[in-house]
Amino acid sequence: MPPGISRAEATLELRGVSKYFGDLPALRNVSLRIERGDSVFIYGPNGAGKTTLLRTLATLARPSEGSVFFAGEDLHHNAAVRRAAIGFVSHATFLYGELTARENLRFMGRLFNLPELEKKIDSVLELFSLRERADELVRGLSRGLQQRVTLARAFLHDPTFLLLDEPFTGLDAASRENLENILRRLPEQRRALVFSTHDFDQGIALSKRLVALEAGQVRYDGPLSLAPLDALRISRRH
């Protein structure tokens, strides 16, 4: 956690956020609050703004309008410190192909200035069943294995907020089940999970709250049990 902020105070909040790419509105007046213990499923059709939403929360995209807050303060003020509390998985792997899995984790761990780094690396390698392949170059790993290294990287610094953009991409059945088990435990660890996936059934199995996006706007934000699926035109056949 960033210094001066306890886990109890940690919240991520979008207030009236719009994001434009040229004239194209990727997000329109989105307000959203994420607290510790939340498990939020971001769902929507292609181009709805899911990736932009996650990238904005991860500080990779600065809003065109509105603000992002961390523990009540503007996230972009002293952003470097606040990023210590965020773990992000993107469509890209964020990995250097010419380094091994272990070297990639060591590099990121040094950027985060993690104590007992080798121990933490061993721990996440174990968590994602990567020990045996840890010393192979990433470019020689399959897409699924690279995705597991990507996930290990996001978990390495023990973040409070996990922002995962389609984290199940490329994973085999066993790896998917392992990741689902890991993600299910996050709320009881008082961490927040915000994720997107095209598999609606998988999404609702892992979360309690649905944020349905369409054309950059939030159409629904609330408990899954109360979500008007027909009105949102969400079919379970995905």
Binding site: P2, R55, A58, T59, L60, A61, R62, A80, V81, R82, R83, A84, I86, F88, S90, A92, T93, F94, L95, Y96, G97, E98, L99, E103, F107, M108, R110, L111, F112, N113, L137, R153
Partner: protein
Amino acid sequence: MQTLRIVWTIFAKDMRVEWRHRETLASMCVFSLLVVFLFNFAFEPTGEESLRLLPGLLWIAFAFSGVLGFNRSFAAERENACLEAMAISPVDPGAIYLGKMLANLVFLAITEAFVIFTASVWYNFSFLPSLGRFGLITFLGTLGYATVGTIFGAVSANTRMREVMLPVLQFPVAVPVFIGAIEATTGALRGEPFSTYASWVNLLAGFSIVFLVLSYLLFEYVLEE
């Protein structure tokens, strides 16, 4: 100390990646060799002509090999959005810039050493009598070029025509470096008194300091979407 640690971490990572890949240095050295080789055949310079042509030849070779180097440096970061991975870590963006710039400086320095050695053999010219001053001028010119090339390399990395955009963006800004470096190198290689070309050396030093500080402060905005 934190900044220095991050700079070293990023620099060491670039060195390790290049050691395994060997694409950046190889392409820079081969391209520079080609420039030296073709100039020799185009002009077939005699002793005095070599002295006249060498400063320009050297800095042309450094300039174009630098473009290759800066493009390759950020190609590795762009491949799997690794620059974004650094951007979402809790580090000062300026430290990321310094780490990348230091790595580019080393790649340029190695290439330049190779070019200088090759040119001394091909043109039968000894750099030893003026090695100290020539070394200082080369260092300052390379530093100035690396400060500009690194930030514009990052800017152009996410554009569609990045191989074209980088030289289009950086060369107008880097022109003072090349003019100053060529003039100062000419004076040094001719054995002229330092005072005759000190103003050019001061230009190189001043340019390096100004653009190093500016780039350090502005790199945060280069990383943002």
